[in-house]
């Protein structure tokens, strides 16, 4: 079981504005033809970051290099379930995300990777995005346990769902080992099911 307790995440921010940013934009499908996640950072927002002639444009990821906290808007990560998307973000350097809301699978994937995904109302999020734009080198801290974000001398409340918070703080976001220890109970549950071979 991973021993990594994640109680806070900090660093500079990157505002990625827009609602309903889907995983096809975050990680275009044509880059998923690899059997490992190793190179995914190179493909993050690949098309959005480039002009038609292939040169890098002023997409925030090109501007806020080295950032650790992504600040996004509504329904971020909707669409395909590809874990390639948060994997690419993580490998690019993102350790935590703050947004108005996240698509479920994307949030689950973040949890599996130990990336806190905090939500806040529209005003709080856009204030933070504005602040990053004015202070690109400014420090932002997500306190997972207290459910707050601190930046520029102020602390605002955010929400982190209970299971995610518990998992990160207790260092049990790697669920494989946790569930593996219950394998005999799993077999009992399976054996009770009408459709499972050998069930009563």
């Amino acid at each position: 079981m991973a021993e990594n307790h994640i109680t806070e995440v900090s660093g500079t921010g990157v505002p990625i504005r827009g609602n309903d940013i889907d995983t096809d934009q975050i990680l275009p499908a044509r880059f998923m033809k690899e059997v490992t996640f190793d190179n995914m950072a190179d493909y993050l927002f690949y098309d959005a970051r480039r002009d038609d002639d292939g040169t890098l444009n002023d997409h925030p990821l090109n501007v806020y290099e080295g950032a650790n906290v992504a600040v996004v808007n509504k329904n971020f990560g909707c669409g395909s379930s590809r874990e390639h998307a948060p994997q690419a973000m993580m490998r690019w350097g993102v350790d935590g995300v703050v947004g108005e809301s996240f698509a479920e699978i994307f949030r689950d994937n973040c949890k599996s990777l130990g990336i806190p995904a905090a939500t806040a109302d529209r005003e709080t999020v856009t204030d933070l995005q504005d602040w990053i734009e004015a202070n690109p080198d400014g420090e932002i801290e997500i306190d997972v346990e207290a459910e707050t974000v601190t930046y520029g001398g102020r602390t605002v409340d955010v929400e982190i769902d209970d299971a995610m918070k518990e998992a990160l703080v207790e260092g049990i976001w790697d669920t494989t080992a946790l569930m593996y220890s219950n394998l005999s109970k799993v077999e009992e549950t399976a054996a009770q099911l009408a459709y499972v071979e050998g069930a009563d």
């Binding site: 827009g18 609602n19 309903d20 889907d22 096809d24 934009q25 275009p28 499908a29 044509r30 998923m32 033809k33 690899e34 059997v35 490992t36 996640f37 098309d47 808007n73 509504k74 329904n75 909707c78 669409g79 395909s80 379930s81 590809r82 874990e83 390639h84 948060p86 994997q87 809301s101 698509a103 479920e104 699978i105 689950d108 994937n109 599996s112 990777l113 209970d162 299971a163 518990e166 998992a167 207790e170 049990i172 976001w173 669920t175 494989t176 946790l178 569930m179 593996y180 219950n182 394998l183 109970k185 799993v186 549950t189 399976a190 009770q192 099911l193 009408a194 459709y195 499972v196 071979e197």
Partner: protein, 487 residues
């Protein structure tokens, strides 16, 4: 909190225990895998020296990267990356004793088409796959959830996912569908009304007269797009339509065993007095066919409606999203989608790649030809679908009309193989996502619609009301009608 719904009952039966983080450990009764999202998970398993816990409850096929032209399916595949993914899947399934429906099996196809047609997906199951459209399987009355690669590792190693229960929204679909209006239109209507994020935090239970009347393939199309509405899962209570569909399928037991299973299926239906977190009613009586006009599935209208002007939206963010869509799709305020030029027609996918979808499309195409300059692709959702269509002679109808008749795969739904939009081509598509770049070109434009509407668009070379192809044209709308409404 919901009570005594199918979701509550099936969850309870599969709940192993509560985890220290407050989530439930949930047993997964059917695990489907494909080549794109599983190799990393098998890699993680090897790193930890773990075995696959329930190989018998795991089935694999290949869909996303496979070529759909017969001559390109020889091994090794021309595309080295695709070959690597396919061989990795063969190796991983072989080493772990997992059934793999590869090319030679004759049953290869899109996971969400293959598992239902073989009878692997059954009522009262939990179904998971590293693919968001796992919601499709809910059509049988099961909980189908899409998962990420780390969760695939969890399922391989433990047969379980860690999850928390969602709220249950009952969607009561009233009325009945007119001619030329299909299951696809029903789910597009639901997304139009509830939005692309309306379902976040919820699973959708679809019911009501219009849903009850749908056949299994229609129900699969509805549940398939639950995820486009933001819901993690969507389901329909099983009934005689479900049981009759299942009877005699390859993986469905017969005789006494079938009756016993049926008793289980009946027992997990939502009770009469089940409680839901909320109930929404949607009326589809007199509804016209729907098409998307923008770049997410919620930007959708009935063909009789004008494309909404960005200013008509209530919130600033919706206005902005509409402007982005106008830009990408090249619209002017007041435009109708009718008459919107189409370069490509694409039939297939896990939404609408089943036999009945090709049947309705063939009905429209019979005696017609694809408009000049339109590239038209018919891609069966599985090899089984292809065979059944060919047995009925449908392939000939498509070929005569000017369609290419292909082999099974995801194809131009996400263009991970050679099937891709070029430049700013417009595609009339029976798929489920119209996101920018989804069909392989970042300037490509996707218009989602039912298979019948795709066939009609192929013939006319533009978006059109398919009902003009039917005998009774009473309800057909034209672009002129839409302008009148807009004025």
């Amino acid at each position: 909190m919901s009570r005594n719904t199918l979701y509550d009952k099936v969850w309870e039966k599969h709940r192993v225990t509560e985890l220290p983080n407050g989530q439930d450990q949930l047993f997964i009764g059917l695990h489907l895998i494909h080549e794109v999202t599983s190799p990393q998970a098998f890699g993680m398993l090897r790193e930890r020296d773990l075995d696959v816990a329930f190989p018998d409850r795991t089935y694999a096929t290949t869909d996303h990267i496979v070529p759909t032209e017969t001559e390109k399916r020889d091994r090794p595949l021309e595309d080295a990356q695709a070959e690597e993914m396919l061989s990795a899947l063969e190796r991983n399934t072989g080493e772990n004793g997992i059934t793999f429906f590869g090319f030679e099996s004759g049953r290869q196809g899109i996971t969400h088409v293959v598992a239902p047609e073989l009878g692997l997906s059954q009522p009262g199951m939990t179904v998971a796959c590293g693919d968001s459209h796992t919601s499709t399987h809910g059509a049988f009355g099961s909980i189908g959830v899409g998962v990420g690669t780390s969760q695939i590792r969890d399922i391989l190693a433990t047969g379980c996912i860690a999850a928390e229960k969602q709220r249950v929204r009952r969607i009561e679909v009233e009325g009945s569908l007119g001619e030329g209006v299909y299951a696809k239109d029903v789910i597009l209507k639901i997304i139009q009304e509830l939005g692309v994020d309306g379902g976040v935090g919820h699973v959708y239970e679809y019911g009501g007269p219009a849903v009850r009347e749908l056949d299994m393939e229609g129900r699969l199309a509805v549940c398939n797009m639950s995820i486009e509405g933001g819901a993690r899962a969507g389901y329909i209570n099983p009934d005689e339509t479900t049981y009759e569909y299942l009877r005699g399928r390859e993986y469905v037991p017969e005789g006494q065993e079938f009756e016993e299973l049926k008793a289980y299926w009946e027992s997990i239906r939502s009770d009469e007095d089940a409680e839901y977190d909320d109930v929404v009613t949607i009326d589809v009586d007199g509804m016209d066919p729907l098409v998307t006009w923008g770049i997410n599935p919620g930007q959708v209208i009935e063909v009789s409606e004008p494309i909404p002007a960005p200013e008509d939206f209530e919130t600033g963010t919706e206005r902005k999203a509409a402007r982005k869509a106008y830009d990408h799709m090249d619209h002017e305020p007041g435009d109708s989608m009718l008459g919107y030029d189409v370069d490509v027609a694409f039939l297939g996918t896990c939404t609408n790649g089943r036999v009945s979808d090709f049947e309705v499309a063939a009905d429209v195409l019979a005696g017609n030809t694809v408009a000049e300059g339109v590239r038209a692709l018919a891609v069966p959702g599985s090899e089984t679908v292809r065979e059944q269509c060919e047995a009925r002679g449908l392939d000939e109808v498509f070929i005569e009309a000017g369609f290419q008749w292909r082999r099974a795969g995801c194809s131009m739904c996400l263009a991970m193989n050679d099937d891709s939009l070029e430049g700013d081509e417009v595609c009339a598509s029976s798929s489920n996502r119209n996101f920018v770049g989804r069909q392989g070109s970042k300037d490509g434009r996707t218009v989602l619609m039912s298979p019948a509407m795709v066939a009609a668009a192929a013939v006319e070379g533009e978006v059109t009301d398919v009902r003009r192809f039917f005998d009774d044209r009473a309800r057909t709308v034209s672009a002129d009608d839409v302008e009148e409404v807009a004025d």
